[in-house]
């Protein structure tokens, strides 16, 4: 800000000097030029009246000739100086206006504003570099959970989209290159409140640069990066980037999960993406050959997964040099029936439309379905705007890279325990996952998506519970799951994970005893979450769910009802 102020003052020197010069000459002249009072005696205007007259003359207010009517000599002087003062004012105001228009100055102004709003953050925040599709989704979900985000984005139109976004929280944003360390410092990367940096720009090199910058400037902050090339990933991993997300690998892994363990996949999607999840159904895929259209980065990742599972794949790809080394391929786009027939789509169980062109992908799916209506369809969606088209297209699995990246990062930042839970869940059987899916579905009768939240048993989050633990009472998990207004009712909540000193336990039973410092992961309705907060914080409510009665609190009550 100092720089801005100094710049303004320096530029204002000339107009201010001009104004004071003109005013002083005009005032001086009026005191020197002889006038005449109302009796016709010679009279000289004093400084007081002269300055008064010049002040209203210069601003063209014009109260008239005071205190006595002017002589012609005075009028001549006033006549000349009306024009001079007005011109000087226009010059001064014009300078101020052009200063406000000045690009450097405005840039300095927005930077100052940005820095101030970042500095005023007194809670943990995340720096999000890149406000594209996935960045936008990430900021949305952070904001919905009241977690602060600071956005650095190079393109002004995306910043405009952020300004127009319907956010209840103020989200500081800077239009600038995130690979410039200065911009990251402005974004508060060195602040003790900076909990993490997320690099989601379109450029691998920029993401890499952000990762190394944050590692150096703030080693405590979590660094999460998107990378779409393996050598970049290796580079990022070499200096300890916390999490590197390759949208293609991630999706290929998810696809593999979907094919092998459909129920687990469903559970995974429910907990990560949190949609209105009664619409989701586990889909079973028959064993057999697949057709893979498009052998780019995604195609390669999927091909690798299929090869590992020993599934036969026919690749359809227009460029021979990409597929030359493969055993089974057809040259072509896959949008025309003859190419698909050549790939024997009629004998396949599934098709992956994985080109980087959304319309081609849709066309592949529609054509393939016409030939073989029983196909399991997987389609890649590149552009966020085509979301509706893909929703309508009756595709089994849509892979939008922005969604894949955003939901993975969201889980990491907001509910890291979900990841722990899912990795434990992957060791469980399909039947187990299916049963849990049904329980989750029954939690929320309406289509409102359930809430996932974490609880740490510490003073701040669970005052009543910690107090009870201090009194050496044994606290069971079932107390927390009971309704504090009528303990025979259970809250619509499932405890997913119990993280204690003895290890992590999946789906803990109600008999589990809780200790100080334990962490729990719950899923349930928003209402049950706030009900549980009562039990956690209010000693009377906790006493009731534990004992079924409440001891009198007041002195009088203790006297009267003591037994």
């Amino acid at each position: 800000m100092n720089m801005v102020l100094f710049l303004i003052l320096r530029r204002m020197r000339a107009p201010l000097l001009a104004l004071s010069l003109v005013y002083s000459v005009a005032t001086l002249g009026l005191t020197i030029i002889p006038g005449m009072d109302d009796q016709g005696n010679p009279w000289h205007m004093d400084f007081f009246h002269a300055f008064y007259f010049v002040s209203f003359m210069g601003t063209t207010i014009g109260f008239g000739e005071i205190p006595y009517p002017f002589t012609d000599a005075q009028r001549l002087w006033a006549l000349v100086f009306i024009y001079i003062t007005v011109a000087t004012w226009i010059y001064a105001i014009g300078t101020v206006l052009s200063l406000l228009q000045n690009e450097t100055l405005r840039r300095a102004g927005t930077e100052y504003q940005f820095r101030q709003s970042v500095r005023s953050l007194r809670e943990p925040f995340f720096v999000i570099c890149g406000y594209g599709d996935s960045g936008g989704r990430l900021v949305d979900s952070l904001e919905r959970r009241n977690i602060h985000a600071v956005v650095v984005e190079i393109r002004q139109e995306r910043i405009d989209a952020l300004i127009l976004g319907d956010y209840t929280m103020q989200i500081p944003r800077l239009c600038g290159d995130a690979s410039d360390p200065q911009n990251l410092i402005l974004a508060g990367i060195e602040s003790p409140f900076c909990a993490g940096v997320v690099a989601l720009t379109d450029q691998n090199q920029v993401n890499l640069h952000i990762a190394i910058t944050s590692r150096v400037l703030n080693p405590d902050a979590k660094v999460i990066c998107r990378a779409e090339a393996h050598y970049i990933e290796a580079n990022m991993a070499s200096f300890g980037t916390d999490c590197i997300i390759d949208p293609f690998d991630t999706f290929a892994q998810r696809l593999s999960l979907a094919l092998d363990n459909p129920c687990l996949f469903l559970l995974d999607s429910m907990l990560r993406d949190n949609p209105g999840w009664s619409t989701l159904e586990a889909a079973n895929v028959a064993e057999g050959r697949w057709v893979l259209c498009g052998y780019g980065r995604l195609g390669e990742a999927i091909h690798k997964i299929f090869a590992k599972k020993g599934v036969d794949v026919t690749v359809v790809e227009p460029y021979l040099d990409r597929v030359g080394g493969l055993a089974n391929y057809v040259i072509g786009l896959g949008t025309e029936a003859h190419t698909l027939n050549e790939a024997n789509i009629a004998g396949a169980v599934g098709v992956v439309a994985g080109t980087d062109n959304d319309s081609n992908n849709l066309s592949i799916i529609v054509t393939a379905k016409e030939i073989n209506p029983d196909l399991f369809t997987v389609v890649r969606q590149s552009n966020h705007f085509n979301r509706r088209l893909f929703e309508k297209a009756e595709v089994n699995i849509v892979m939008a890279s922005s969604t894949v990246v955003a939901s993975k990062i969201k889980t990491l930042l907001v509910n890291p325990m979900v990841d722990d839970f899912l990795s434990l869940a992957h060791a469980q059987s399909e039947e187990w996952a299916d049963a849990l899916n049904h329980r989750l579905n029954d939690l929320t009768p309406d289509d409102r998506p359930p809430v996932i939240w974490e609880l740490s048993i510490i003073e701040q989050d669970a005052h009543a519970l910690v107090t009870a633990l201090d009194r050496e009472l044994s606290i069971k998990l079932q107390y927390l799951l009971a309704d504090h207004t009528d303990r025979s009712n259970e809250l619509s909540t499932i405890a997913l994970l119990h993280d204690s000193n003895d290890g992590s336990f999946i789906l803990p039973s109600g008999e589990t005893t809780l200790e100080w410092g334990d962490r729990l992961l719950f899923v349930g309705t928003g209402q049950s979450r706030s009900m549980m907060a009562w039990t956690l914080q209010n000693e009377t409510a906790l006493e009731y769910v534990m004992n079924g009665t409440v001891a009198p609190q007041s002195t009088l009550g203790k006297l009267l009802f003591a037994n």
Partner: protein
Amino acid sequence: MNPEKVLYAFTIVLAMTLNFGFFFGEINEPSHHHVYELYAAIFVNIVATILKFGDRTQIGAVLLASSLVSIIQLVGAAVVWGIAMYVSDTGMTDSIMASIVSLSGGALLANLVSVVLLVIETVTLKR
């Protein structure tokens, strides 16, 4: 030679000399203190202040501060003069003249500080 520095040195020394001219004389004797001199001192001080706008050096900031002090003192003196002559019925008396002149004396001190600082700045310039 930096023309900006010459102009500033000229202005601040002129401000001090004009101020001294107004201040010099019997403190309560109106005929020793001419209104035009006060007027000129005010104008030149304003110019000196504006010339220090946007100066980022430490000594520039102190010079700006001392010029602001002298402007406040001189404008105070002018306001006392105007009120005595036109607002209240007292007219110019010995005691009012004395307070006007002592106000300008304060401004003179501030101008003196400016000039001393200017000299110090010049001396420390090893060229």
